[in-house]
Amino acid sequence: MVNSMFASEFQLFPTQASSVAPAVDLLTLFILAVNVGITVLVMVLLVVFAILFRRKSESDLPKAIHGNVPLEIFWTAIPSVVCLVMFFWGVKVWSEIVVAPRDATEIYVVGRQWMWKLQHPGGQREINSLHIPVGSTFKMIVTAEDVIHSFSIPDFRVKVDAVPGRYSQMWFTATKPGKYHLYCTEFCGTEHSRMIGWVHVMEREDYSRWLNEQAEGGDGLQGRKLFTKLQCITCHSDANKAPLLEEIFRKEREIGFMDGKPVAPGTRVLAAESYLRESIRYPNAKIHRGFSYPSIMPVYDRDLVSEEELLQLITYIRSLKQGDTPARTEETPSPQPTAGGEKTFAAPGSGNK
């Protein structure tokens, strides 16, 4: 048997293992039906015409038909309508795939040549594997350290590119326990085809056991260490120097300057991951209202903070509760006063467009 000669579990169609998979497959079946219908029609006509109207005599001289308006309208209109149906149906399924439900648990994913690093909200970290319970909704916040990668789980019918310098999102709810392939689908260099892993979808009990087995010292802790080590604490423990970062995650933050220009009072942005990332990488992009431009906060570029460390910092900021900011200690002396370090207030309304 061919099957036994070659390796395991030969299959022609992927497993449906996520909540969106049936919708994607149904749409696929519809397009497939249209495909088969039209292709078979064309092939049958081709063969039938080729046989029926084969050249019978060398002096055959059939009369040309230059056109037939109703026929031409017919074969333009019908495919157009079918295409419109596909388009709208496609948009509908796609919006299910891309718009994450609000209650999704967030998992951070960093792609780098040539591995996937994943980080759970509780700080558990994994490389090239992802453990999740069946039936819960997860949102992946995906970025890359170096080149573009793409995070793909075919059995879930989802995929998103991991682009350096951006956070992309993808969500899913696994519906079937099992082990599923995880691939990098954007060519990323020498070991591209080894940038693979497994998604383990577990029953809830197995999952909680797995969670407990994972050692202490997740990213919350890592992030806390970094927060001290990188001197964030010297400013962010003193509300006069810098905004306190307690419970700011997913809150609206009022900003005073954007890209160096003052903005109208009341301008707010959501402090989600991308905002926090931007605040650390490019402090001057948006300045919290009440602080001066340029910001006294140093630019933490990649040489100072890797993408992975950045996510650890974000995890830590997310976990910061009211009054949790550690006090400044001897190990973290006050930084040198920087130029423009004085706290100034942007005159309200000044420079409004």
Binding site: I38, T39, P62, P79, C83, G90, T190, R302
Partner: protein, 560 residues
């Protein structure tokens, strides 16, 4: 310079500048001069077409060799034949050679060069010297590119995505980019030449709507070449600025945006797909009417749909980027626009079928290639619908489904059309008939081999097998083995014409003037092979280009 001296008017008699032809054979463009220089420095569009034929055939063999290596490696799930790095360099080389050095020049530079002036009743293209220059740009760029790919290699894929290509890949990225840049100019100059030729050089009486559909296809293709290619030249130049001078354009570390590269790259490279396929659509139109001996159905619509495809081709590029994080509105707009390209292509297929309806269909081998073309192009086009639909593209993007889809279009469609065209015009180009039997065997092998190679890849793609994987999970082996076996049959189908076509030069029967009973000028007014100046005097232009009732009885009788 001993090239043949073309005086500017159509000449009626002997040409003083040419060496004398052998006594028996009538003067033609092949025997008028035979020195090496008369070939290498020729300004005759027909000879330049043949020079290109030699060039692109060599490139096809090179690209095909890379393809065989890829399929051979993928026979087993483990990477055993090639290392990861060499595998990446191999598929990059395969893509770059096949796209830039074979497919883009194929039909326009060979058949277009040879036929376009004849089909519109003139004796050369508007700028013969420019034509020769495009050829040497092609040769120069081609050699440069091939050396870069063979020695050292490039491991970025033919898409050169940043920041991989700008900051991480270590191969000859810049040499390859320069090669692409040079080739681009060859393509631009050919396009420019054709556009001016069609506008300015049509014989008296040759109105726009009397031009053969192949000429319309050439016109549409040239528009894309002239408008699209500069963008890829700009893109690779920017890549150079970033890679060599460290100017931040695409790499986020330098403050650039990697997605910008994708926009610029696809702005050219999606239309480039049409540079490859529109000429084949043109060839198909010629084949179906000639071998049905019946005027084409919907001439104007087919002509205009070529132009429509060329224009729409420019506004769909971001359908390659649905997973890269473009705005949702952009995604919807580009998905919608992509569907609009499907319509004119569909119209063409239906019009061809209507042309066959109640025709007198000959089974000559070019028609066999046409049948194969329709089959493969239809599957290729239809499977594109899965990729233009947003909901399904997310799953299929960057998998083997895409690989299968575009090979159906670019190998199934474009190369099948090219093969059909070569077999159709071979008697005109060389004056010799090739073996009908072997050419039919070749058409059949290509059709069967092709489907075996690429059909399994649709399943591989739906199962999620990513593109450009050197190693793959074991359960996918069966389908990969099928694909490799099919590729061997396909290779055989391509090797055959490399033998019997040149063979016909020595053993083939002499081709009559109009062996197929066709109605366009190259058959009705030109000898096989044509006179150095194509026509002895201005050819008469019939009112309808595909009017077979005008054919003399003899012409109809010699055909089979």
């Amino acid at each position: 310079m001993s090239t043949i001296n073309l005086d500017r008017g159509l000449i009626a008699g002997a040409d003083g500048g040419t060496t004398t032809a052998p006594a028996k054979a009538p003067l033609n463009y092949l025997n008028c001069e035979s020195t090496v220089a008369s070939w290498l420095l020729t300004l005759d569009h027909k000879r330049i077409g043949l020079l290109y034929l030699v060039g692109i055939t060599a490139m096809f063999i090179l690209g095909g060799t890379f393809a065989s290596l890829i399929r051979f490696e993928l026979l087993t799930p483990k990477g055993d034949v090639l290392s990861g790095d060499s595998y990446n360099k191999t598929f990059t080389a395969h893509g770059v050679v096949m796209i830039f050095l074979f497919l883009i020049p194929s039909i326009p530079a060979v058949l277009g060069n040879f036929l376009l002036p004849i089909m519109i009743g003139t004796k050369d293209v508007a700028f013969p010297r420019l034509n020769l220059m495009s050829f040497y740009l092609y040769v120069g760029g081609g050699i440069f590119l091939s050396l870069a790919l063979l020695f050292g290699g490039v491991d970025t894929g033919w898409t050169f995505y940043t920041p991989l290509s700008s900051s991480y890949a270590n191969g000859n990225v810049m040499a390859a980019a320069l090669g692409v840049f040079i080739i681009g100019f060859s393509s631009i100059l050919t396009g420019l030449n054709f556009i001016v030729t069609i506008h300015r050089m049509r014989a008296p009486g040759m109105t726009w709507f009397r031009m053969p559909l192949f000429v319309w296809a050439m016109y549409a293709t040239s528009l894309v070449q002239v408008l699209g290619t500069p963008v890829v030249a700009i893109t690779v130049s920017l890549l150079g600025f970033e890679r060599i001078l460290g100017v931040g354009i695409f790499d986020p570390r330098l403050g650039g945006d990697p997605i910008l590269f994708q926009h610029m790259f696809w702005f050219y490279s999606h239309p480039a797909v049409y540079i490859m396929i529109i000429p084949s659509l043109g060839v198909a139109s010629e084949l179906v009417t000639t071998f049905s001996r019946k005027g084409i159905f919907g001439y104007e619509i087919i002509a205009c749909s070529s132009i429509a495809i060329a224009i729409f081709g420019f506004i769909v590029w971001a359908h390659h980027m649905f997973t890269s994080g473009i705005s949702p509105y952009a995604a919807m707009v580009f998905s919608f626009l992509t569907f609009s390209v499907a319509i004119p292509s569909g119209i063409k297929v239906f019009s061809w079928l209507a042309t066959m309806f109640k025709g007198s269909i000959s089974y000559a081998s070019p028609m066999m290639f046409f049948f194969g073309f329709i089959g493969l192009f239809t599957i290729g086009g239809m499977t594109g619908l899965f990729l233009s639909t947003l909901g399904t593209d997310i799953h299929l993007h960057d998998t083997y489904f895409v690989v299968a889809h575009f090979h159906y279009i670019m190998v199934g469609g474009a190369i099948m059309g090219y093969m059909g065209g070569m077999h159709y015009w071979w008697p005109k180009i060389t004056g010799k008939m090739y073996s009908e039997l072997w050419s039919k065997v070749s058409a059949a092998l290509i059709f069967v081999g092709f489907n075996f190679t690429f059909f399994p890849q649709f399943f591989l793609g739906y199962l999620g097998m990513p593109r450009r994987y050197h190693e793959y999970p074991e359960e996918l082996q069966v389908l990969n083995v099928l694909s490799t076996v099919g590729a061997s049959v396909l290779a055989l189908g391509y090797i055959l014409p490399l033998l019997y076509l040149p063979g016909s030069l020595f053993f083939g029967a002499k081709a009559p003037k109009n062996p197929w009973g066709a109605s366009t000028l190259e058959w009705t007014e030109c000898e096989s092979p044509p006179h150095p100046h194509n026509f002895e005097s201005n050819p008469p232009i019939p009112d309808h280009v595909y009017d077979y009732s005008q054919l003399s009885k003899e012409a109809v009788r010699v055909s089979h």
